[in-house]
């Protein structure tokens, strides 16, 4: 490696950003090269200059002025985010979460109850449709409806036209 290659490494070296292998290379080069050693001294001195930069602080009232601007900025936020902000301002978070859970449970339950009667009906229909296919094969049942020639239509026609439960009961199980 030439001295120029080492110079990039030296800059990383003063920042402690070299890997162990590079560190060994740099340090062994430094013992042999005066020019790079002088370079390193300069880098450390330059680094030290930054300590003379005072940390500047915003003038008093920074947050007060900011909060006025934030109030305006809030108007640009999407609707859902404004609701979120509003609830977090007005209500304790735990209450908000409890309320959301309640809505979720009530909503879920009502949806479940609404669609519940469909369940056995659909299942039975599936079972029945496979049975129907068997029956078609044997050409025994539903003779008059054969005109439609379409298994699916036939089934949906039957499902819509008849009350749910009693239609698909197994002949034997009803007793």
């Amino acid at each position: 490696m030439s001295c120029d290659d080492f110079k990039i490494l030296l800059s990383a070296y003063v920042d402690g950003e070299v890997d162990p292998k590079e560190r060994v290379e740099v340090e062994s080069h430094l013992t042999a090269c005066q020019s790079c050693s002088a370079e390193l001294d300069q880098l450390y001195r330059l680094k030290e200059l930054f300590r003379y930069l005072e940390v500047k602080e915003p003038a008093l009232g920074f947050r007060g002025r900011l909060s006025a601007k934030l109030a305006t900025a809030r108007q640009d936020l999407p609707f859902w985010y404004r609701i979120k902000v509003w609830t977090s301002e007005q209500l304790p978070q735990s209450l908000v979460y409890a309320f959301l859970w309640l809505i979720l449970i009530i909503g879920g339950t009502s949806i479940f109850l609404k669609y519940q009667p469909m369940k056995p009906f659909v299942n039975t229909a599936q079972v029945q449709s496979s049975q129907l296919e068997e029956l078609y094969a044997e050409d025994i049942l539903f003779e008059p409806l054969h005109l439609s020639n379409q298994g699916e239509e036939l089934i949906s026609f039957n499902l819509e036209a008849t009350p749910f439960d009693d239609l698909f009961e197994e002949p034997d199980s009803g007793g």
Binding site: K7, I8, S11, A12, D15, E17, Q42, L43, R45, L46, K47, L49, F50, Y52, L53, E54, V55, K56, E57, P58, A59, F62, R63, R65, L66, S67, K69, L70, A73, D76, L77, Y81, K84, V85, W86, T87, S88, E89, Q90, L91, P92, Q93
Partner: protein, 194 residues
Amino acid sequence: MSENLPDTISEETIIRRCQDGDHQAFNLLVQRYQKLVYNFIYRLAPNWRDVDDLAQEVFIRVYKSISMLKEAKQFKSWLHRIVINLYYDEIRKRRRVKEVDLEDNPKIEAEVLHTASSGNNPIRSLEEKELERVLQKAMNRLSPDYKVAIMLREIQGLSYEEIAQTLKCSVGTVKSRIFRARELLKEELREYLQ
């Protein structure tokens, strides 16, 4: 009406609460970072008269987009990226309207440098103040890319990895920008480095 937040609250918790729209948490976030943001903008552009407004604009941008921050751990890089984006936006804007460049007017420069309130060290030697002035002046001459890279390192104290994350570039690029910035600064400050 969220309960009082203790000062010892972790940054991750603060950020999560900010993402939930908690105002008090956001206030705490501003309190923790206002100096870091203000000082960084000031050092990037000491001659701009509206550093205060720009620092506030940073926090408005943070407020509007913090819900999109995925990893609370990356907040610092993300915050710095917002500052830097704002800085580049402003450079473009000010070039368009051809704002007078104060850089070469020492009288105005000195005046502007005075308007920002200093840290809590009233007794500083003239020599220290002079060193601060010449270093700032040398940095003002760097191109924005070099200036940002060296300042993220030396003023904001970020690691190369964090700088790469902030600037969305490789660690190699960070390394070379910092090296170039230092070469230029050494050239400018030759007499102070003997």
